[in-house]
C-alpha cells in the first residue's frame, strides 16, 4: 500500500445515518472525509431519503448531540459509526401545575 493511499484511508471514516424514514446508506457504511462538515453528510442523507423538512432535527451519536456545523473530525466521530438523526423531542406539558406535579413525584 502506498503512503499516499494509506494517508487517504486515515482521512476517511465509514458512517451510516439512521432515521425513522430509513437509513443512508441503506445498510453498511459510506466513506466520508473527516474534513467534511456533518451537515454535508446529513444533507446527502436527506436527499437520498427524500426527507422534506429536517429543520429542528438533531443528530446524535449514542446520547451525545453532534454539531452539524463542525467537521466529522471536530465532532469526534469514530470510524463505522451510526448517527441517529431525528426531530427534537418536545418538552412535557407547559402547564405550570403539570411541571410542579412532576417535580413532586420526582422528589418522592
Amino acid at each position: 500500500m502506498s503512503q499516499e493511499h494509506e494517508h487517504e484511508q486515515k482521512n476517511h471514516i465509514g458512517l451510516q445515518v439512521v432515521t425513522g424514514s430509513g437509513n443512508f446508506p441503506e445498510s453498511g457504511f459510506k466513506d466520508f472525509s473527516v474534513h467534511v462538515r456533518l451537515e454535508t453528510v446529513l444533507h446527502e442523507a436527506a436527499q437520498h431519503l427524500k426527507l422534506q423538512n429536517t429543520s429542528g432535527w438533531v443528530a446524535r451519536l449514542g446520547d451525545r448531540q453532534l454539531d452539524p456545523a463542525l467537521t466529522l473530525e471536530a465532532n469526534h466521530i469514530p470510524d463505522k459509526s451510526r448517527i441517529f438523526w431525528a426531530p427534537t423531542e418536545p418538552g412535557g406539558g407547559t402547564d405550570v401545575t403539570c411541571i410542579r406535579t412532576s417535580v413532586v413525584s420526582f422528589l418522592r
Binding site: 406539558g93 411541571i99 412532576s102
Partner: protein
C-alpha cells in the same frame, strides 16, 4: 378514518421501525408486538441498563394520536406508576394528573405532544392534534422514537 385505511397506514409506518435492524440496534430497541392497533417496543436505558416496555395503541390512526401505556415485560400488565420514568420537564406523570383544572387522567401517563393523553387533557385542550398530525416528525416512527429519546433522558 376508515379502519382499513388506518390499518394500512399503521402497517406501512410501523415497518419503518420494525424492519430497520440498524435503527433497532443503534437505539437499543426490541419490537415485541406490531399488530394493528398495537405497537409494543422494549427499550434499554443507556445509563442505567433498565428496560421498559412501551405499548402504543394506534386505533383510529392518524385521526387520533396514539395512546401510550407502560407495561410489565413479563406479565403484560400495566406497569405501576412507581416504576415509570421521571424527569424535571413534566413528561411523566406516575400518579396521574393532579391539576387545578381537575383530575382528568387517574392512571399514569406521558405528557407530550403527539400522545393521546396529552391532547385530550383539559389543560392542553387548545393544543390540538390536528395541528401536528401532518407535520414531519409526527408519523408513527417519529412519535415512537421521540418517546424513546425522552425515556433515555429520564431518571428511570
Amino acid at each position: 378514518m376508515h379502519p382499513d385505511v388506518s390499518r394500512e397506514l399503521f402497517e406501512i409506518e410501523s415497518k419503518r421501525i420494525s424492519e430497520n435492524d440498524d435503527l433497532l440496534l443503534d437505539r437499543g430497541l426490541l419490537v415485541l408486538a406490531c399488530s394493528y392497533p398495537y405497537f409494543t417496543v422494549a427499550a434499554k436505558h443507556r445509563s442505567t441498563g433498565k428496560i421498559r416496555v412501551f405499548r402504543f395503541k394506534f386505533d383510529d390512526w392518524n385521526d387520533l394520536p396514539p395512546a401510550l401505556s407502560l407495561t410489565d415485560g413479563e406479565t403484560g400488565e400495566d406497569l405501576p406508576g412507581k416504576l415509570w420514568p421521571t424527569d424535571r420537564l413534566g413528561h411523566w406523570h406516575a400518579s396521574g394528573w393532579i391539576s387545578e383544572a381537575g383530575i382528568e387522567t387517574a392512571i399514569p401517563f406521558m405528557c407530550m405532544v403527539g400522545i393521546r393523553e396529552y391532547h385530550r387533557h383539559k389543560s392542553h385542550i387548545g393544543d390540538k392534534w390536528e395541528n401536528y398530525r401532518n407535520q414531519p416528525g409526527f408519523d408513527l416512527p417519529g412519535i415512537v422514537l421521540k418517546v424513546i429519546e425522552v425515556f433515555q433522558k429520564s431518571n428511570v
